[in-house]
Symmetry: C5
Subunit: 207 residues, 5 copies
């Protein structure tokens, strides 16, 4: 905890930055929740809990990095194991709060997490996509559209990272960490911010 | 705290995962509480407090495991001593909030915790079961039914674990820890989630 | 913090158990407060603050015990110095919120803490007892009656403990610690629980 | 953090006691705030924030004392630098919420902190005193009167302490610490409690 | 954490002071938020989150300084990277809540952060300035005017600091740290306080 983080340590710096950003994002989502239309409350809670749980992992990861200079890959896997299903759940709850979505689809989304391409497919062409297209709520559609893009790009970063790490020789552990941190920033904080701005617009229309 | 958790350390990883999951679950239960019909408030508070107290134990257990590589069995016993009566209390409060249950039954449930088979019996065939069958609230019945199953399976895991540990030679302390962690995940987080989804459905009907 | 707590260490285990129980109780009291009739709010806040302050002392006591194997007697005295007046204050506020109690009695109760027998006498035969008997609120009477008993028994434990410690040779520091922990559990958590259940009944009648 | 605090260590004990008392007071002020008439909200927030910031300093001071046996005089100065202006601000806001006070007076009070006698003079004979005498709100007058006394006595303790420390040879650092701790207890917790009880009385009249 | 902070250590003392001040400010902004007119809620949340995230950085910076006597320049860069865009966002949200501001301006402000002179220009002469001049809400205009000044002076401190550090030989690292701490105090706490007092005045007019 008390070692010096050097300015040129980009990896350690990005761990630091994201850990604090996650806490800030979580608190912001929780505080703003009360101002939004009540049907967005659970979505905002989920997005906040994802950011909070991630911040715990990032604080430990940052400490380990500064002390040992090692990439805490185990913490990443635990974090993803916890936050990926919650991200999918967030998607499901957001759609469910405006349309009558079938219960089975949630499980397809959850299973779908194993095969990432399946999620993309589901989001672009499956029932979720169709339900969204017909849900008639512009704010949800906007959030859906933006986050589908985020997940497509953001999740592909993990896959590219995994490919580099395991197949291409794992050339540079440092750049890999920065890439993963960027993906987490995109998939958690920006993802949450897009949902938040959709909620804000939806709430304003309602009042 | 600052030792490296290795990716192949399944036991340490499961301690980590559950400690963060417990915190996330506790905060989620507390935040969602306000949105639910007021008669579910105490039940949600209890479920959240159980998860929060368990998260404290798991954070310490995780630290001890990473530092010493030893199973912190004493922490488990303390955790169970605190959370088992609260789980039973949660059951009782949930039923009590919709039916006029006799005060004596709570004590029978609490005593019943010593003899686990007795609980199962009480839940399946005793007054609690009958009261539930006649309470006329579908959401409570659903939660009751699902949690009766969870407790039957989840609590049996502790008993199987105890049998392995003390009678069958305690062959593998690692797999035992993973089994116990799984049981806690089932009996605390999934248990809470089922109550939460029953509360959500009950609240929607009411509005 | 990172030493191993052994399962056979009853004293350390009871420190652990009570520290977590105090946190759980404090959070439960704070969360339930909003659901109760508003005149119970200050009483619930006081009971929660007592549990919270005690939990801080118990966490430190537990750490010291695990590291040094020594009874942190100084922490106990500090804890009692803070929480005893607050316990008396809680009593006073509870009665005051339903009857017009004389201001002087609070000071008599507070002074009374020095001479414990005086408190017992005050509670059983003095103005507080009479006021309570005539306050006409059944829930307050129930809480008053139960807590008078708790304080009679619970506080006597401290006195017995003090007697053993200073006069009877202080035979066994371990059993003394367990006894004190039990007294704190009784005088703080069970005390608060009784007030809470009285508040619940009073609130239900009001609605 | 893990050294043993000895029962005969009065200085360390008083650091401990006040650090926990400050936390308890801060949480109590924050929780009770919602029950009071809305014009007391900012005053209660200020009083709570003062106690909370002070508790952080006292926790560190206590740790330093137990580890080094040294009086952390730097922490005291930092604490006073932060909490003195806020105490004056609290006074100003309390009066401002019931009378139309001139903006310039706040600055006079703030500057006045440098010359302590000036504050006393201002409180007893200046505009603040006159405004208070004519504000017609009995609760504010009571709080004003009691806190003027507290500040007169409480702040004089700091001055006596400073005199002993720098001019009279600083004879006994231990008794000095106890004196300062007592002054902080008086100027922060008792100060807040008096405001709180005035707020309670004012709120009851309003309802 | 447990080293002694010496009274003559001005740099360490200013780290300490600001870390606690940031926490106090954050909690104060969050608590007061509920009392203000609802359109100020997001602005207050942002100002509170900025102070909270900064307090985390300052607590670490303070620890590093006391232990190593080194200026944790990396933490500063990370803090600025997080809090500068949020400061600009706060400006934008504040204006947006009273006028219909164009979405493009936010990006201009954000880009503008790279070229500090550009921000000043934008604030004084650009669309933001004009919108503000015509927004017809006196409180917003007051906050806008005061914070434009703060940002002009406060941000220029960073630039002067940067100039000294990198171009003028970095003569004295200690005075540089004190200067940066002062700038953060100005740009975060005083900035937030000005917005808060504008919000208070706006809320009073509305009621």
């Amino acid at each position: 905890m008390n070692k010096l983080l050097l300015p040129q340590d980009i990896v350690g710096g990005s761990f630091w930055l994201i850990s604090v950003a996650m806490i800030g994002a979580a608190i912001f989502f929780f505080l703003e929740r009360g101002r939004l239309s009540s049907r967005w409350a659970t979505v905002m809670n989920l997005v906040g809990v994802i950011a909070l749980m991630s911040s715990i992992h990032y604080f430990y990861a940052k400490n380990l990095w500064v002390l040992n200079g090692q990439a805490p890959i185990a913490l990443r896997y635990i974090d993803w194991l916890l936050t990926f299903p919650l991200t999918i759940l967030t998607f499901y709850v957001m759609l469910n709060s405006v349309t009558d979505i079938k219960r089975g689809m949630f499980w397809r989304l959850l299973v779908g997490i194993v095969g990432w391409l399946y999620i993309i497919g589901e989001l672009y062409m499956g029932d979720t996509g169709r339900k969204n297209a017909s849900c008639g709520n512009e704010s949800v559609q906007m959030a859906f559209f933006a986050n589908r893009l985020i997940i497509t790009i953001g999740f592909s970063i993990y896959h590219i990272g995994y490919f580099i790490e395991h197949l291409a020789g794992g050339a540079n552990i440092n750049s890999l960490n920065v890439i993963y941190n960027l993906a987490d920033f995109l998939n958690k904080i920006i993802f949450g911010m897009i949902i938040y701005s959709a909620a804000i617009q939806d709430t304003r229309k309602g009042t």
